[in-house]
Symmetry: C2
Subunit: 452 residues, 2 copies
Amino acid sequence: MTTIDNPSTHTGNPYIDPYLNVPVNDPYIIVSADSHAGLPTADYREYLEKKFHPQFDEFLAERDKALEVSTMLGTRNEDYAKKWFEEHEEALRSGWEATRRDQELDGDGVAGEIIFPDADAVESRTCVPFGAGLGMSGDMDPELGLAGSIAHNRWLAELCSQSPERRRGMALVPITADLPRVLAEIRRAKDSGLGGVMIPAMWVNQLPYHDRHYDPVWALCEELNMPISTHSGPASRDEYDNHLGIYVTEVVWWPARPLWFMLWSGVFERFPGLRFGVTEAGCWWLPPQIWFWDRLALGQKGTEKLGGDPFKGAIKMLPSEYIDRNVFIGASNTKRRELGMRYEIGVGNIMWGNDFPHPEGTWPNTRAWLKKTFHDIPIDETRLMVGLSAAELFSFDLAKLKVHADRMAPCPSDFGQVTDADPTAQRLTDRWSPVKEVGRHWLTDHDFSLIP
Amino acid sequence: MTTIDNPSTHTGNPYIDPYLNVPVNDPYIIVSADSHAGLPTADYREYLEKKFHPQFDEFLAERDKALEVSTMLGTRNEDYAKKWFEEHEEALRSGWEATRRDQELDGDGVAGEIIFPDADAVESRTCVPFGAGLGMSGDMDPELGLAGSIAHNRWLAELCSQSPERRRGMALVPITADLPRVLAEIRRAKDSGLGGVMIPAMWVNQLPYHDRHYDPVWALCEELNMPISTHSGPASRDEYDNHLGIYVTEVVWWPARPLWFMLWSGVFERFPGLRFGVTEAGCWWLPPQIWFWDRLALGQKGTEKLGGDPFKGAIKMLPSEYIDRNVFIGASNTKRRELGMRYEIGVGNIMWGNDFPHPEGTWPNTRAWLKKTFHDIPIDETRLMVGLSAAELFSFDLAKLKVHADRMAPCPSDFGQVTDADPTAQRLTDRWSPVKEVGRHWLTDHDFSLIP
């Protein structure tokens, strides 16, 4: 009924399973499932269709207002910004320069990366034209939003053409815009070498993602093997005034929301090969949510009054089974609490990322962060979460990534997982084995989670 | 810094602490923090101000449409409804008849109850006029919404005047309506004997609950010792089409949402005596949320860029401390997974309820459900969760409740907590003591929750 005993539920890539049998202390093949790149905004001009240049001038002129809003809310602090840009002036060019970028990846021990927009998360100096980018949502002007997205996608394909074996770019596609043009842009993006599709987290006043209107989008992404993801950014900003705590609470909810719209309306049932992800929204909210959903599907107390099949045939498996087959979590800087619940979330569903080059990420101290976070996690599971699952999902060539990893990546002994006293890290496997056995407790006849 | 070592954080009632020292097998004083009462809709006429009678006739005529919508979504199943009303015809009169109601409470072993509206959750035969009731939200017609609420409140005060020692009625108050009239209704409700205030879970197009506009409401409820609660019901229905799974997922989110609007905007800091609750939305979502909030307040990785005090002085304690002081969860039919996490949620914050007389609740089999759910929970904690915390919050007279409990309530031995082999239930205390010691792990220097 469930696949929790198998840490990797993504078995499409023949490299992975053998790779788990490499020598125990082989370097990690690290793939950041959440990194960011973008041009200094004014430089997008040459990638933008000419007819939009007048609107682009207006957009550039109005950017200062956006900065004021951000300062008011408290997501921007002037002193911090000044220091950040002074201290990292050179390194931050990695946001758009491939050679410099490779140096920073190497410094962090990262072999490959999945690239989202908006390199600068401090002052939005690299924001995509017209509100496309991390904050894009259904209330963008559909024509301008698509134009801005295309400009970014064109540039991103160029970036990814340098060290292509290390990069997968996420095409920006505001799928709430005109459908034929949306589909055309997905095809164009794929042809240009991009590896996935980032969609707006919020549809706002457009059709919700349960609507069959979007079936051609899902079908095309499935056909082209383009994983889809939302990313933290949009939120119901108008409702928060200047209360940062409300914003931070909800900015992880909105990107997750499409997950249950797609799940319960049967998108994953109709498109079994579609892969949908939620990026940089953590995975701490997921364990109880999966429990809640599975119980709902299994007919918990309270569903008697619903009768027959209350889901009208939309789903045929347990929600947790769709999670394992169709869903990934770009969990970014994974927290210890989250790792403690990985057997409920699904080890193969969690993809670590360094959020490079954002200050809330682990760059440029990724090696230390990884050691701190993963030091007592079994090595095979660590391999999946820090890279192999993302590599498989985005069809990286593992042999090529390994060349980079062998040069500069940390090994299990660097994380303290392998020691002289325990060269096979058996103690870690032993420690977690009862927890793994309980797994999703509601499916293994346990009343409670087991967490050490 | 935190109060997790003290299972009862509500120390206002002098009865509780001594009561925890009663003989180990004393009957439980059970208070349902979530029950429902309401008149058959047409009967609200005599409680409704005359000038609204014409609109009431229209409202009655249109009720069938609401039933159709509910059938389409799948929350109503015709066969089930038929059976439900046939089998429980007599018992369901307890929805509005006090004497019959007391019989049903006794049958369930319940001494006291907190009463929300809408006795009938199968076909809404007892819905409050004009959309007031469980589903009320900010987009109701403000004048009609208030009129319907007042009609219900008038009737509810009558109901509560029978066996008043067993009942606390929640006044319906659409606080998004005209403020002076809102305040007047809260005063009137208090004077009439009602014990708390149910507010709309969703403000929709009205002011969000962080707005200082509502400060007079919070101040008055604090002054009058009227706990406030949302209740599961409203949801963003227009976005769900006929997908029940989406609705069920979100109908627990919307009533919880005001919690973080109030918390992060400092409502609980400004009104330390205010008590706010979320009812019938479970408490399974709360443990990771409290962890997330406390980490945010403690300056987790990622907040460096926010500088200084990013919350602008709105909060002065940890979110978990406000939860312990100001917040309660009407957790209704508490789930075992939730109980496993009670030291993170706060034992004193969880209030069990039977959701009587709704079919998704435990009535008329509450005794069996309680045994199944609480059989291995320490007795003193069980006492708090099944009744003492609610009794204290709503200022019940425990001595009077005890008279009822002594007549008919189950004892710890009925739940299997006390046995011949272990007459003090020491094994339960021992079993959970390491879990209690870890508590909110992020505050006790542990990386992970401990759950057996």
